[in-house]
């Protein structure tokens, strides 16, 4: 067990392109489940591979358990990794796959067998599967074997690189909770890379959001959702995504769809200080409350997506070009073409700098 520290860790692939990982500062606590999330090209996988020792650092350092491992070879870092495509050795049986690292460490056969069986039991892998080759397994079983291979090593840190991306949707949701549960039980520090913000939110104790090689924000899922530090995090976390719209400022508020949405005092102060004439307004879909004709935002429903419990309304607000999405209860949603109005609580409105994207006060 150990904490993990990225200290100004940097990785540059080529001279003329920005760093893949740019001076990453991240502290992962002992036993924590940390999710690195971001769109493709954000540097999340590179950051993980740097921790694994598969990618050299061009600057800064990485510590595992307060020991600088920047130049320690992967096998001596006491880590185990689950790869996206599992990377099971095709010619070895499941048991041999799981026990390979122990064999390399010259762990006696009896001890090896015991630990493989223990890991298999932990993962509900049938004993009969242990003698099979990976080819004869289903996708879900392969995934569990890959997990098992990591568990058998009893490492100080688990590294997982999008381990669920090759599973079908239903299995993915199941396995998601199993991994989170397992991690909680084993208490091993885990760094988990995904591009799926739902996975990030549901699994991580804390989530680090990356974009273009830079750490945007690291916090608990709740905090990320409620207090995004910038427009990128606000737009990335949450499904469906937050409605973001550049709007002109009016006295005491922002002008949207022919009405003025009042802004809280701190936001107004920040706007005044920066001398802005417009800003980016952010409203989460569930904060657009349908109001029976007396809401301040009016618009026409263009499309209704029924999700069962809720429905998503794609609405064109009066006088605006872009559509916004509103979440509403699913039983009696308005029909497409219907004119509706929404009520928005001023407290629920986010405001971002139109150029830098930084959150304005609040």
């Amino acid at each position: 067990m150990a904490q993990v520290n990225y200290v100004a860790a940097t990785r540059v692939y080529a001279k003329d392109v920005p760093p893949a990982v740019d001076a990453l500062e991240l502290e992962i606590k002992d036993g924590e489940f940390m999710v690195l999330v971001g769109p493709s090209g954000s540097g999340k996988t590179t950051a993980l591979r740097m921790l694994a020792g598969l990618e050299p650092l061009d600057g800064g350092r990485i510590e595992i358990g307060e020991k600088d491992v920047t130049w320690v070879p992967p096998k001596d870092r006491d880590i185990a990794m689950v790869f996206q495509n599992y990377a099971l050795y095709p010619n070895k049986t499941v048991a041999e796959n799981m026990g390979f690292a122990l064999k390399m460490q010259r762990v006696p056969r009896a001890e090896r067998d015991r630990r493989v069986r223990e890991a298999a039991r932990l993962l509900n892998l049938d004993d009969t599967l242990l003698s099979r080759k990976p080819k004869a397994l289903s996708g879900g079983q392969r995934q569990r074997v890959a997990m098992g291979r990591a568990i058998v090593r009893e490492p100080r840190v688990f590294l997982m690189d999008e381990p669920l991306s090759n599973l079908d949707a239903k299995l993915r949701v199941q396995t998601r909770s199993q991994i989170a549960e397992l991690q909680r039980r084993l208490g091993i520090t885990t760094v988990y890379v995904t591009h799926d913000q739902v996975e990030a939110m549901t699994m991580g104790h804390r989530v680090a959001v990356l974009s273009n090689g830079k750490l945007q924000q690291v916090d608990t899922p709740r905090q990320l959702y409620d207090n995004p530090v910038n427009q990128f995090v606000a737009g990335f976390i949450g499904s469906p995504a937050m409605n973001l719209q550049t709007v002109p400022l009016a006295d005491g508020g922002a002008r949207l769809a022919g009405t003025v949405i009042p802004l809280p005092a701190p936001v107004r102060a920040a706007v005044g200080q920066a001398g802005l004439r417009e800003l980016v307004l952010g409203i989460r879909p569930e904060h657009m409350h349908l109001a029976d004709g007396n809401g301040e935002l009016a618009g026409e429903v263009m499309l209704v997506e029924e999700l069962g419990a809720d429905a998503l309304l794609h609405v064109r607000l009066a006088g605006e070009a872009n559509q916004v999405v509103a979440r509403t209860e699913g039983r009696t949603p308005p029909a497409p073409g219907q004119e509706v109005t929404f009520h928005v609580q001023p407290d629920d409105v986010f405001a971002f700098h139109p150029v830098t994207g930084a959150r304005l006060a609040g």
């Binding site: 020792g53 598969l54 096998k75 495509n85 050795y89 390979f100």
Partner: protein, 285 residues
């Protein structure tokens, strides 16, 4: 009520076009196949003819088959087949032993200037072997290796190595990078990486590489003809030696050639699957 929908049929003209296309390709395939097979068939048929019936014009199709020529072949081929087998097996083993590490250094962990290395290997195949036979002869004489089986093993190894390196390299490039990384994380060094991960994965490719080396070495004539006489003379030399200065020899030559082809055909037959798999492995990117 459950109505089973009638199977949709293509419009007739389209069906005819598709059918005729299939038939057309079938015909082409058979013609090409027969064109390749005919001389071989003729060789095998001639091998069973008595010498007197072998060289008639027009060719005779009715004859009383005889094994006389085969008996003659088997009485004389002993040393030749032994030499061929030693040179073929020896050189192929050497090719694999040298080719695997060379290919590794040009693919999995490429050395500096690996492109130049790769090009150098194949460039040795661009020079016609005739151009090198003079120097080779001199070297063989000075090294006291003329008419020695060791010389053939060395030369066949050199001859097959470039192709083998290129083939094995392409197989190694197919090994998923994640697999090698997993092995590194699991604590496998270079040797374990090779023996536990790479070699098992590329084994079908290695088999097909070995087969091609076997075939090339087994059939090689030019070097054997110029650098050996008796102590290391190979099977192709035996074929040549069955052509006498005078008299009829077609049936005898056919029998010898048939016998010489059989091992290669058997090897190819047995390993057909892995040959196709191995060759396709490198081709698909």
């Amino acid at each position: 009520m459950s109505a089973v929908p009638a199977r949709a049929r293509m419009p007739a003209p389209q069906r005819i076009r598709e059918m005729s296309g299939k038939v057309g390709w079938g015909v082409v395939a058979w013609v090409v196949g027969l064109a390749f097979f005919l001389p071989v068939a003729w060789m095998v048929i001639t091998a069973f003819k008595p010498e007197s019936a072998a060289e008639t014009w027009p060719p005779k199709f009715t004859f009383s088959p005889t094994l006389a020529e085969f008996r003659l072949v088997f009485s004389g081929w002993g040393p030749f087949v032994t030499h061929s087998a030693i040179a073929t097996v020896g050189s192929t083993i050497l090719v694999l032993l040298l080719g695997v590490p060379a290919a590794y250094a040009l693919s999995v962990h490429p050395v500096k200037r690996w492109r130049d290395g790769l090009f150098f290997f194949i460039s040795t195949k661009m020079l016609p072997i005739v151009a090198a036979i003079g120097p080779l002869y001199v070297i063989a004489v000075k090294a006291h290796l003329l008419d020695s089986i060791w010389l053939l093993i060395i030369l066949y190894t050199a001859m097959n190595l470039p192709l083998a390196i290129w083939m094995i390299r392409s197989f190694m490039l197919e090994v998923p990078g994640e697999l090698l990384e997993a092995a590194r994380l699991d604590g496998a060094g270079r040797i374990r990486e090779m023996t536990e991960v790479i070699l098992p994965v590329i084994s079908p490719g290695l088999v097909s590489t070995a087969l091609i080396c076997v075939i090339f070495a087994w059939n090689e004539l030019f070097l054997a003809l110029n650098l050996t006489i008796t102590n290391a003379a190979t099977l192709p030399m035996f074929l040549i030696s069955s052509v006498p200065q005078e008299g009829l020899y077609i049936a005898h030559l056919s029998a010898a050639a048939t016998v010489a082809s059989v091992p290669v055909i058997i090897v190819g037959w047995i390993a057909q699957r892995s040959l196709v798999r191995g060759l396709a492995m490198g081709a698909i990117k």
